[in-house]
């Protein structure tokens, strides 16, 4: 069992997760990872907006349709953008439009990527992920 790294300064794990969930990259910004925060914010926001622009759908929590339910769950991992799109009346999704499936893919994957970003912020906040040295996963 490896020793835990020192948690990031002024880190509150749940607060970091909540902020990271609300705004992509904000958790990393709070933990002092400004460069990573900028990458996450711009890339994930771009993917989300592109998904909406292509005619993707904001799925409802529909228990009778498991895939729709899972898609909704993935999309809700982008907190504030999802709420803003809902309030703004976007994301009705036109199933016959050419970009419908592309849009759904971008919307869902941006949410899933933000889930990874939230988990990364949590690891940084509790010191599970060493500051200054990321786990080397060979690809």
């Amino acid at each position: 069992m490896s020793a835990r790294a020192k948690p990031a300064e002024s880190s509150h794990p749940l607060l970091a997760c909540a902020i990271a969930w609300l705004v992509p990259g904000a958790g990393h910004f709070m933990l002092g990872r400004n460069r990573s925060a900028l990458v996450f914010f711009f890339v994930l926001a771009f993917m989300y907006l592109l998904g909406l622009g292509l005619g993707g759908r904001l799925f409802p929590f529909q228990m009778s349709e498991p895939l729709v339910f899972l898609s909704a769950l993935a999309e809700w991992t982008m907190g504030l953008p999802r709420m803003a799109a809902f309030v703004g009346g976007f994301g009705h999704g036109d199933v016959v439009s050419m970009g419908y499936e592309y849009g759904n893919t971008f919307l869902i994957v941006s949410g899933l990527l933000n889930a990874l970003v939230v988990l990364d912020a949590y690891d940084l906040a509790i010191g599970r992920k060493p500051v200054g040295k990321a786990p080397q996963v060979s690809i």
Partner: protein, 56 residues
């Protein structure tokens, strides 16, 4: 926008997020991101040709 264009944009976005998440050093992040990007695009190309020759 074409399927290929959207696939390249998708691959670039995914690669940049994974590269940033999995490496610390900026150069290592770019290197990993490029490897993931290349793997996704070339993999999709290869898969496309395999499906073309299999199901045509």
């Amino acid at each position: 926008m074409s399927h290929l264009g959207l696939m390249v944009i998708f691959a670039a976005c995914v690669a940049s997020v994974f590269g940033t998440l999995m490496r610390e050093d900026a150069r290592a992040q770019v290197r990993l991101g490029l490897r993931i990007f290349g793997g996704l695009v070339l993999g999709a190309y290869a898969l496309g040709w395999i499906m073309y020759w299999t199901f045509r």
